[in-house]
Subunit: 341 residues, 2 copies
């Protein structure tokens, strides 16, 4: 097996370069110089995010292939751009590679990243390669373009605004648990949940449509779970919030996995991160615009799960009883954002 | 001692945020949202680079303080922007932190990075924090602005163009060797060389002036050594090159350290990386412009060390004898660039 230390760093750069399709005209200087040079989109602001996947923290190579890691490293950044209402444009890839890593795995990682980039019209314009004495680290920086009046922030929502979530929640947490347990026999929904975890499909089109339609007062992506997302929007907006337990759209795999283990699937779904869905606050007067944006994002289910409140508490309503919304993901065990995640 | 795992990731983000000065008006959304949003400089292109420092590969915490690491992580990216003729604008900081790292060290790292950023009018607008199961990894992404006709590429130079290098060469290599040896007693130049290694001062003003003055046909920074830089420009320009041995401005610490050990200081200086000086190719007809740019970059010494040639060989001329220029840094042992370093 040819490893990265066999072939050397210059050859690795050439290997990556050969796998990247020709850059669009807006890329003036691409891979191979001291830095990349790109043309910003005229009249638009630039969105910038960076997010790293670290082996042993964010993925386990026992069940995440190099291609999975390459896909997800870009996907989590696409999700951040989507949550701002931006259109993604160019990416940088910074790799710290363990000496023993197979060159074929670097190829697979880059191919999957480039394939997802192409699907979103993103150009890989540069990056960095270094050795790692420990884990594989894949750090992606992604830029995007957004109109000044169409930025989706996490603050700025008001009491009374309704909360909508895209897709289904809890699938990634169930998928990860199932993979960690060695993929025991079970319903097909578990395999689908594992794919949600390994290969998230960020809601880029939805974020762009909601931003363009000026159809929301706030938005975050659910990298750290739904409970955390609700707290982020409420906290940044200076409001409280409630979530209707029965309204939360729980993934079928999460119901199956957690249900069979005596774990409350709702609690698991609220706390489980990595679904990379969007949580959107919508003032009542914008409900029509929001429905129109949602309809244009064909095939994305949007569910009203609660609302922001004037009282500062963050609560869960279930069968007429209210209790504090469980705290989501709060440990120092996953990536979090400065301006990302 | 309070460690990063004691205080948790959200508190770490707050800690960093509190140490970052208020952002300029061009930063529309800064630290704390899913992504940052900035206003590009009107009429300019965007320069983008990313470069990581990995503990055990790029630095040893036995002799590099957290503050040194924070300074250098930004400095190496500033050097890449300088080598393109760009003016640096905003930075993202992606940290992978070992659990046992002292919170005070994170503070020192961020303070040093922010201090260097302020000196170059760079705003830290976002980033990412995650745990590391192994080394400390500090990955910085830096943007800059450059005029379309003032980009300094590494290719595009021609046979006959003269090669100029800024500053003195070999100091960083000597400084690193001296630190690794436990700082044995010796001339003061060794301490200065160690500072060159630990706290490089990138040639941002020089790069900007040379780019603005359209005073060069090609430029690279010397992250991987002078021999490598000459090969990069010649390779990308489709020329050969020669270097005059006697002209190479060798750092006093390098002369002292390598001379005392029977190592040819010139060879060490040619191969040693991390000087972060600029190597510039200047056509004869632009010599006046280049002198003017160099004079405006007050206090930066520029030395003519050779020229590009029509013959493809890369040679070293010493005392009337020519031999191949020693191969510089080629191992998979340091960071290299896709569009960086």
């Amino acid at each position: 097996m040819r490893t990265v230390s066999d072939i050397g760093e210059r050859a690795l750069v050439d290997l990556i370069r050969a796998r990247v399709p020709p850059a669009p005209e807006s890329v003036i200087v691409g891979i191979g110089d001291d830095a990349a040079v790109v043309e910003p989109v005229r009249g638009m602001l630039t969105v910038l995010t960076t997010d790293a996947l670290v082996e042993g923290i964010h993925f386990d190579r026992a069940f995440a292939s190099a291609a999975d890691v390459g896909h997800k490293a870009l996907a989590v950044n696409l999700s951040d751009i989507a949550a701002m209402g931006g259109r993604p444009s160019v990416a940088l890839l910074s790799l710290a590679l363990p000496d023993g890593m197979a060159a074929a795995d670097v190829e697979a990682l880059v191919d999957a990243l480039v394939a997802l980039a192409a699907a979103h019209h993103v150009a890989l314009v540069g990056g960095n390669i270094t050795r790692s004495p420990g884990p594989l680290v894949v750090d992606v920086t992604l830029t995007g373009a957004v109109h000044r009046r169409r930025i989706l922030r996490r603050g700025g929502a008001r009491a009374g605004d309704e909360l909508f979530v895209s897709g289904m929640i809890g699938g990634a947490a169930a998928g990860l648990a199932w993979l960690r347990a060695g993929r025991p026999a079970g319903p097909a929904a578990l395999g689908a949940a594992a794919i949600r975890y390994l290969r998230p499909e960020p809601r880029v089109r939805l974020g762009l449509l909601v931003g363009r339609g000026r159809a929301a007062s706030a938005c975050v992506d659910l990298s750290d779970g739904l409970a955390d997302g609700v707290r982020q929007i409420a906290g940044a907006s200076g409001t409280g919030a409630f979530v209707e337990a029965d309204a939360v759209p729980i993934d079928e795999g999460a119901r199956a996995w957690f249900g069979a283990r005596g774990v409350d699937a709702l609690d698991a779904a609220l706390a489980g991160g990595e679904d990379y869905e969007l949580l959107v606050a919508v003032p009542r007067r914008l409900r029509g615009r929001f429905r129109a944006a949602a309809a244009a994002a064909r095939g994305v289910r949007l569910t009203r799960i609660g609302a922001l409140t004037a009282e500062p508490a963050i609560r869960l309503r279930r069968g007429g009883v209210e209790r504090p919304l469980p705290t989501g993901f709060q440990h120092f065990t996953e990536g979090t954002g400065l301006a990302a995640r």
